[in-house]
Amino acid sequence: MVELKNVCVTYESTGVEALSDVNLKVDDGEFAFAIGRSGAGKSTLIKLLLKELDANSGEVLVNGYNLTKMKKRKVPEFRRTIGVVFQDYRLIETMTVYENIAFVLRVIDAPMKLIRKRVPYVISLVGLQDKADSYPSELSGGEQQRCALARALVNDPALLIADEPTGNVDPELAYELIELLQGINACGTTILMVTHAHEMVRHFGGRIINISQGEVVFDEVIGGAEVEAE
């Protein structure tokens, strides 16, 4: 569950108000798209949800953690409850696909038995069985994105945040990726996908949160067909 209550974020260095009195709630099991133009405040929202920056005012609650009051030493523990897929994949270049994914389980001191079972499973889920021993530099953009998705899923997170996951892949792969995310959502994982690919969002429909100039200007659930009709 994600909840923002009257959240304001202003970057001290530039004085820019990135988020202004934002109120937002994403319930468990929901699939929500956060859309908006560049500079609208989408990236700030993600940084806020990952506790990479703090709100100047208001309250941020994620997966039962109150990020506003969270102590620094609790941050790693909190981040383990979230899976994140970044636009630029953020894979460790010196690790293979298998190692990149297993790393998340290593971090939480998972038993070897679980690692040996869980990692091949998520690798097969994203269709990278043949690339398990490849390094990120040996993969295409789509494969790297799928590897990043597998890494985000391996820990069975309650919340999956996808930051422009389709930004660096071709349209066909982008649609496949969102279908994959929908399948994951169907299994109970809450998904918040940040994107500026409005066309694609219109195609799939669902809950759409439109952010503009740091404010939530639209937040409704709409079906794909309805949007087409508009």
Binding site: K47, L50, K51, E52, L53, K72, P76, E77, F78, R79, R80, V84, R90, L91, I92, E93, T94, F103, V104, R106, V107, I108, D109, P111, M112, R151, N155
Partner: protein, 305 residues
């Protein structure tokens, strides 16, 4: 931390040395040069001390006794001298022995000695060697205050010169070693910082998946330790080779002993402490350098990804 995680992180440290071999090699070279600079300076200082110590060994104080001192009293004085704290050796130099030596050294003046017949004008004396030349004055005064001692001959100005020389050498050596240590630490710190900075993306990814600071730092610690260990080992070999070559060269010409100085300490006698110092300091500096740089990076870049 579980044993399996510990093993994994140690393994990661070893793997990282190879995976980041360019930066690892740069750190290794900086550590090696730093260790050699400091190590050689320390060895130089130790040897300078040994060489000066060689001169000190030759220091001798002569205690002349009054004429007609009885044999029993002479023996008593000898015993008192040998019990003195700063005295390392006591040798009786009898008037007969001294007279014979004088005759031998002044062979050209044999006629003068013949005119003296059996009349020996020289007194009995004791030759003593002292441990600490900086305490020379006190020892000489104590010897001179003994009953039946006529006069004490000590190389005062020579002692002062040696004491001064040793102090100057110590100050210069400590200053140089201190400066080298600071320079080395700055260079090592910058190199490890650069190494950590080059992997900032990797670190930020680790943070984003919930890795703790310890989990992130541990492989860097191991990596730094391995680099330091290798630098220490290579520094040992290079020092050994250079030192032995130098000792062989100086030994061949017997330069130092010819001019009355002590000799260089053979490498065999200092091999173990030198090796341990290089390897321990290398490993420690390598590991701590990595840890401090990673810590500084995590502190300043904790929230930036």
């Amino acid at each position: 931390m579980k044993l399996s995680s510990f093993r994994y992180l140690v393994g990661q440290g070893f793997d990282n040395v190879w995976k980041n071999r360019v930066m690892a090699f740069a750190s290794f070279c900086v550590l090696l040069v730093s260790l050699l600079l400091v190590g050689i300076s320390v060895l130089f200082y130790i040897n300078i001390n040994a060489v000066i110590g060689g001169i000190e060994d030759k220091n001798e104080v002569i205690i002349y006794l009054l004429d007609n001192t009885s044999d029993a009293r002479i023996a008593e004085i000898g015993e008192t001298l040998s019990k003195m704290e700063n005295v390392s050796a006591v040798t009786l130099y009898s008037r007969e022995e001294a007279f014979a030596d004088l005759k031998e050294s002044m062979d050209d003046y044999s006629q003068v000695f013949e005119s003296l017949g059996d009349d020996n004008p020289l007194p009995d004396a004791y030759r003593i060697r002292i441990n600490d030349i900086s305490m020379m004055d006190e020892t000489v005064a104590a010897a001179a205050s003994l009953k039946d001692v006529e006069y004490v001959s000590a190389p005062d100005s020579f002692v002062e010169l040696l004491t001064e020389l040793r102090s100057v050498v110590a100050v210069i050596a400590i200053a140089i070693i201190g400066a080298l240590l600071i320079v080395s630490m700055v260079i090592i710190s910058n190199t490890t910082r650069a190494s950590v900075f080059a992997r900032r993306r990797e670190i930020s990814i680790m943070q984003s998946v919930g890795a703790t600071k310890t989990f992130i730092r541990f492989p860097f610690f191991v990596e730094g330790m391995i680099n330091g260990f290798m630098a220490g080992a290579v520094a040992t070999l290079l020092t050994w080779f250079t030192y032995d070559s130098l000792v062989e060269m100086l030994g061949k010409f017997d330069m130092l002993s010819t001019i009355g100085l002590g000799s260089i300490i053979p490498y065999e006698t200092i091999a173990i402490p030198v090796t341990l110092a290089y390897i321990l300091f290398g490993s420690l500096i390598g590991a701590m350098g990595s840890v401090f740089s990673t810590r500084a990076h995590l502190k300043h870049k904790a929230v930036n990804m």
